[in-house]
């Protein structure tokens, strides 16, 4: 029987604060989690939940207060683990005096490739992340999204079995996000395990076999995205325009008008009835989109606070 890709057991991290290091903040609280080979796992949580802390612990950048973890069956303090993993830190930053090509070549030296293999690989991955044309530009001249792309390239350059990505989509434009989703999806096809953190529900929903939700260092739940309450649609939003001189039917009195356009929220089961009415009064339908509680609402609910009114997904998927 082969070991799980990632096995985290009772992992806890306390940060010491204050001048005398006498105050303690628990950033991760007895996290226990098992991720199987070939799984794509989304690690969700609001700011300060402890996602980055978890990843840094797994990478051996910081040390746990208590608890253990294994990757590919090896304890995380065994540096041999690192031959099997790739890591994209949050807001990655690299040696800015190197070019993208030099940087990737440098990292490739820590895997056992000869110089021809290195060259081929570096070129292939530069291409993959869309940086072929900027390959010989010094990284100090790179934009945030370009750095993010270099970061992704270095994380997967050596065909790692398990890939850890801390907010892989952050700083990317819509095309970049789509590309990264494709990359992650391809990693899955190749049978690799991906563990990534994000705030963006739609990314997790589209990619993950399972997600885990972390709030204030505590794991609140793990499951398939479809099982999560917050993923359920609880209303449909219709955006429409009325022809001049025409009035709204009384049933649509709740519609709000913004910038000459009207929008209304209706329960899913009333969607078709409402659309019929709109057709009758000659309205032009601009869009119909599902309204879901945001991740924030879900987190607030988990934290025992009252959620605010639902807003469309796009509002949070910055």
């Amino acid at each position: 029987m082969s070991a799980s890709a990632i096995e985290i057991s009772e992992l806890t991290k306390d940060y010491r604060l204050g001048f005398w290091h006498n105050r303690v903040r628990r950033s991760l609280d007895h996290l226990t989690l098992k991720i199987e080979d070939g799984e794509i796992f989304g690690f969700l949580g609001p700011n300060g939940a402890g996602k980055t802390t978890t990843l840094k612990l797994l990478m051996g950048l910081i040390f746990p207060t208590s608890g253990t973890a294994r990757i590919c069956g090896r304890p995380i303090d065994d540096v041999k683990v690192h031959a099997e993993i790739g890591y994209l830190p949050e807001q990655p930053y690299f040696y800015d005096y190197l070019t993208a090509r030099e940087l990737l070549d440098y990292y490739a030296r820590f895997a056992n490739y000869n110089s021809a293999e290195r060259r081929e690989r570096v070129n292939r991955f530069l291409e993959l992340v869309g940086l072929a044309s900027a390959a010989n530009v010094q990284l100090r001249k790179f934009s945030k999204g370009m750095l993010q792309r270099v970061g992704i390239a270095q994380a997967i350059l050596h065909d790692p079995k398990v890939v850890f990505l801390d907010e892989p989509m952050s700083g990317l434009d819509p095309i970049g996000r789509r590309e990264v989703r494709d990359i992650i999806h391809n990693l899955k096809i190749q049978g690799r395990t991906v563990f990534f953190s994000t705030h963006i529900l739609s990314d997790a929903e589209m990619l993950c076999d399972r997600v885990g939700v972390l709030v204030e260092g505590k794991l609140q739940g793990v499951g398939a995205p479809s099982e999560m309450v917050s993923m359920q649609v609880n209303a449909m939003e219709i955006l429409f325009e009325l022809r001049e001189g025409l009035a709204l039917p009384a049933t649509l009195a709740a519609a709000k008008s913004i910038g000459g356009r009207n929008h209304v929220e209706v329960p899913e089961e009333k969607l078709y009835a409402t659309l019929d009415e709109l057709r009758k009064c000659g309205a032009r339908i601009l869009s119909v989109s599902p309204v879901r509680p945001t991740l924030e609402d879900y987190f607030l609910k988990l934290a025992g606070k009252k959620p605010s009114a639902p807003v469309p997904m796009e509002a949070v998927s910055r």
């Binding site: 910081i62 690192h82 890591y87 040696y95 005096y97 440098y106 970061g151």
Partner: protein, 259 residues
């Protein structure tokens, strides 16, 4: 060098080159040229002494400044800029990283010193003196200077593993100054009446490297013979001292939580 330490060392050297650290060579070249021309004008038989004295002193000052300021930044800069996160996620132990950074700065210092040595040779050539056998002492003096750089860099690296770059700089300079006056500190200890003071002076004397032992500039200027025993003794001392510091640095750095 191991498969992981080597690339780190080379990259450290490359950083120094790209960050234009070697530009200090231009100042050195100007200094040597100026001195050679000036001394050539006077020419009362002390050209050799002046040029060698000035050249070696400049080599040592330029290098010491580099050792301290680049030394304290070796690790702290990588932590501050978070370039270390991705590197340490590769199959490399923290001590290998540390050793690579240290070796990289030594390579930089060695290349820098070699270039300056050529400059010094050119200046000596300009003042019109044929090279003689006793000039070997100049090379030995330069070797001692390099050992000094190795010691200072190791100290800077060591301090930077547990304090801020600012404090590391102060501590390193402090140890250097104490090391230059090591003999005086010992004499002070011998004369002191207060037993506590005596103890402290003796302790400091044994803890800091005695940098006077590494100063052969005057001997080189006068073309004095430098005994082989001193070369062996200094080499042994530097190697041991550096080994202890690098081991201690590794032990501290390996336990450190990276911010």
């Amino acid at each position: 060098m191991s498969a992981t330490t080597g690339p780190v060392a080379i990259n450290t050297f490359r950083e120094a080159v790209r960050d234009r650290v070697l530009y200090n060579l231009i100042f050195f070249a100007l200094l040597m040229m100026g001195a050679a021309i000036l001394v050539g004008e006077i020419s009362i038989g002390i050209e050799r002494l002046v040029i060698i004295d000035l050249g070696l002193t400049a080599i040592s000052i330029f290098g010491l400044v580099m050792s301290v300021f680049l030394g304290v930044g070796l690790v702290s800069k990588e932590i501050e800029k978070r370039t270390l996160y991705t590197l340490l996620a590769k199959p490399i132990e923290r001590w290998q990283f540390l050793l690579g950074k240290y070796a990289g700065l030594l390579i930089t210092l060695a290349v820098n010193t070699a270039a300056m040595t050529l400059g010094l040779a050119a200046a000596l050539f300009y003042v019109g003196r044929p090279f003689v056998r006793s000039d070997a002492s100049i090379l030995i003096a330069i070797y001692f200077i390099l050992l000094e750089f190795a010691l200072i860099t190791a100290l800077a690296l060591f301090f930077s593993c547990f304090t801020s770059p600012m404090l590391s700089t102060l501590f390193t300079i402090g140890v250097f100054v104490a090391g230059v006056f090591a003999a005086d500190i010992r004499n002070f200890g011998a004369l002191a009446k207060n037993p506590a003071l005596k103890g402290i002076a003796t302790l400091v004397y044994y803890l800091v490297p005695n940098f006077q032992n590494f100063n052969a500039i005057a001997a080189a200027g006068h073309g004095d013979h430098i005994p082989a025993s001193l070369v062996g003794q200094n080499t042994m001392y530097a190697v041991l001292y550096v080994a202890v510091l690098v081991l201690a640095s590794s032990a501290i750095f390996s336990r450190r939580n990276l911010k």
